[in-house]
């Protein structure tokens, strides 16, 4: 039972049932008083009717007829009967079975004696009906009490039922809440224990718990992805840095031998600086991607005129492409805007153009297009080079992935990884397709403004 007091689920369920039972009790109390008052008024009305009837009898027919009427009524009524008494002007009891001292006129509580049922605590209406004659019509208080008792016992039964149902419901509801929450904490516990693939079970109902479970699972997937990424990066960094650092070391070592020759030494130092710059560039790219992936930059997003940016980049790149023996053609629809970071969007497009220039043979045709495609804005970079085999297309956005045939081309294998990170940051879809021949890379930006 200690589990029950410490369980929020049970506490909430019990509190709810208790509140419901309390509301029922309050309702019962209100009904009880309402019925008690209504019944009392009804009895008062009965006594008023009886009094005025007997008074009329007395005035029209005289005392004899009154006595006759009272006798008849006393003989006729049984359990819900009224009690009568008539006193003469001198205060003597002259008629009726009700035995008591002469009371003062008006409604009042009256204890009297009845030959059939003994002492009765009741309520009486006392009226002077003329000529100093005083009529007493009374009811037995037990009648009201009996009604009260009936109402109270009915309510006690009802509240008992409510409490019983409430407790049962609280146990069921509490148990249900505990079970659903237990599944979530179970999954969390499994993850803490080391099973990173553990997930919260999701039922088909799609209720609040399922929605929580779905968002928790999405969060876990994201964390899992980030951890995987981190692991990948640390091992890749270790691997990718080893090569240039080893080369640097060899170079410096051979530099020691050529200390006598100033020109040779100078060359060694210059290439060493170049190697160090490569390592630094690699670091800069890794940090930049890491920063993009935190999503913090989203706070400083502005409207970016993608059309103007793409045109400027195309104009800057066309001569460079020509110098490199390739051609760059572009077709850019005007006035297409997206929300984003200007610098990162430019770098993503530049990386795609750089890739197209590096991974195609001389004479290749490269295209840059920007157009509205349905609800989205589509930017595409195409080439007619060797393309990327379909099996490799999922891999090429990963960090440091360099396909076999591109091992000899310059680059550190982070270009597309940054494009993918920038796409994710802008909620854009990055996809790779076949240009027959060649590669087409598309970036679809959603929900844009024109």
């Amino acid at each position: 039972m200690t589990g029950l007091t410490r369980s929020a689920a049970y506490r909430i369920a019990f509190a709810y049932s208790a509140a419901f039972a309390a509301a029922m009790a309050l309702l019962g109390l209100v009904l009880f008083f309402a019925m008690h008052i209504a019944f009392s008024r009804q009895l008062d009305a009965l006594m008023i009717d009886e009094t005025s009837e007997l008074q009329a009898e007395f005035r029209t027919e005289g005392p004899g007829e009154l006595a006759e009427e009272i006798r008849q009524r006393e003989a006729f009524h049984d359990h819900d009967r009224l009690f009568y008494a008539v006193f003469d002007p001198r205060g003597r009891h002259i008629l009726g079975a009700l035995q008591a001292e002469r009371p003062r006129p008006g409604f009042q509580a009256l204890t009297f004696h009845d030959p059939l049922i003994g002492t009765v605590a009741g309520r009486a209406l006392v009226t002077d009906i003329g000529g100093g004659v005083r009529l007493v019509v009374a009811t037995d208080g037990a009648r009201v009490k009996a009604i009260d008792r009936t109402i109270i016992s009915a309510f006690l039964v009802a509240i008992g039922a409510v409490i019983a149902i409430g407790i049962a419901g609280a146990f069921m509801l509490g148990g249900y809440l505990r079970r659903r929450l237990g599944q979530i904490s179970g999954a969390a516990g499994a993850i803490v224990a080391g099973d990173l693939r553990s997930r919260v079970p999701v039922s088909a109902r799609g209720d609040e718990f399922d929605r929580v479970a779905l968002s928790l699972n999405a969060m876990l997937d994201r964390i899992d992805g980030l951890i995987g990424n981190l692991r990948q990066v640390s091992s890749d960094v270790a691997h990718d840095l080893r090569t240039p650092l080893a080369r640097l070391r060899n170079q410096l070592e051979s530099g020691l031998d050529s200390l006598g020759d100033a020109d040779a030494a100078r060359e060694v130092i210059e290439t060493s600086i170049q190697r160090v710059d490569e390592v630094l560039e690699l670091f800069a790219s890794i940090l930049r991607i890491a920063e993009v992936e935190t999503g913090r930059i989203r706070d400083s997003f502005t409207a970016v005129d993608l059309s103007a940016m793409a045109s400027e980049l195309a104009e800057s790149y066309a001569p460079a492409a020509r110098d490199a023996g390739r051609t760059l053609d572009w077709s850019i629809a005007p006035d297409l805007h997206v929300r984003g970071d200007r610098g990162l969007l430019a770098q993503a497009i530049v990386n795609l153009l750089d890739n197209a220039l590096t991974h195609t043979p001389e004479g290749a045709k490269i295209g840059l297009t920007l157009a509205r495609a349905g609800d989205s804005v589509r930017l595409a970079v195409t080439d007619n080079g060797p393309g990327v085999p379909e099996a490799d297309r999922d891999r090429i956005t990963q960090r440091f992935i360099r396909l076999e045939h591109s091992r000899t081309t310059p680059g550190h294998g982070l270009g597309l990884n940054l494009v993918a990170a920038v796409a994710r940051l802008h909620q854009a879809r990055l996809s790779f397709g076949d240009n027959d021949p060649g590669l087409v890379v598309t970036l679809d930006f959603p929900g844009t403004m024109s």
Partner: protein, 224 residues
């Protein structure tokens, strides 16, 4: 020029001071933020090289206080490797230029020279002259010894940045930033491509080359 270098790493500080002294500058080195603020407010400096991370008072705070005190000495902010947001913060705090560590000394020297020479007048000038070149910024026209040279907008901007630099070196990264707005280095050599086109147009008819290339450093206008 008198240059204040606020940098807490003794090696970096010595490296910068040595290089700048060799170029003929007078260098004051401090290692703490509060010292930097004190010297910057009490002594005349032409340029301040300010590290972002300094003991006692960080570089951005020093910069904000300087600007709040209406001291508008040009400030070159130094920062550790690559945070995009950092650059924005630095410029918003009032930095005139921004350089990421580690850097080539030639890059730092070129940027300090550019900052030291920055005159308010040159920003509103409508004409720039260098040797036989006249650039009309309103008409977007360039003439060499009176002959009109037709330039693409990008080439015009490239020449404008070079001419504003006068006979000082403008580095490749400075050109990428000021002409293309890139704060990264694209793999494709767009600077070289556009520079060779600009050069070919300027030097048409075997005229003497007005742009000098400094290997691994940058470019500068050559006085004839």
């Amino acid at each position: 020029m008198q240059i204040l270098v606020a940098e807490d790493d003794a090696d970096t500080s010595a490296f910068i001071a040595k290089g700048l002294s060799e170029l003929g500058h007078l260098v004051l080195c401090v290692a703490r933020g509060d010292d930097a603020l004190h010297i910057a407010t009490t002594e005349h400096c032409d340029v301040i090289v300010l590290d972002r991370m300094l003991p006692a008072m960080d570089g951005l705070t020093v910069l904000r206080r300087l600007r709040a005190a209406k001291i508008d000495t040009p400030v070159l902010l130094l920062t550790a490797l690559g945070q995009i947001q950092d650059r924005v913060e630095g410029l918003e705090a009032g930095a005139d230029d921004y350089l990421v560590k580690p850097f080539a000394f030639s890059e730092l020297a070129a940027r300090i020279a550019a900052l030291g020479r920055r005159l308010p007048l040159s920003d509103v000038a409508t004409e720039i002259e260098f040797g036989p070149l006249r650039m009309d910024l309103l008409k977007r026209e360039v003439r060499r010894a009176g002959t009109l040279i037709a330039l693409q907008p990008r080439e015009f901007r490239l020449l404008e940045v070079l001419m504003r630099g006068g006979d000082r070196v403008v580095t490749r990264t400075m050109l990428l930033e000021q002409v293309w707005g890139f704060h990264f280095d694209p793999r494709t050599n767009i600077v070289e491509t556009h520079m060779s086109r600009l050069r070919a147009k300027l030097n048409e008819g075997d005229a003497e080359d007005l742009i000098e290339t400094l290997r691994r450093v940058g470019y500068r206008m050559r006085g004839i």
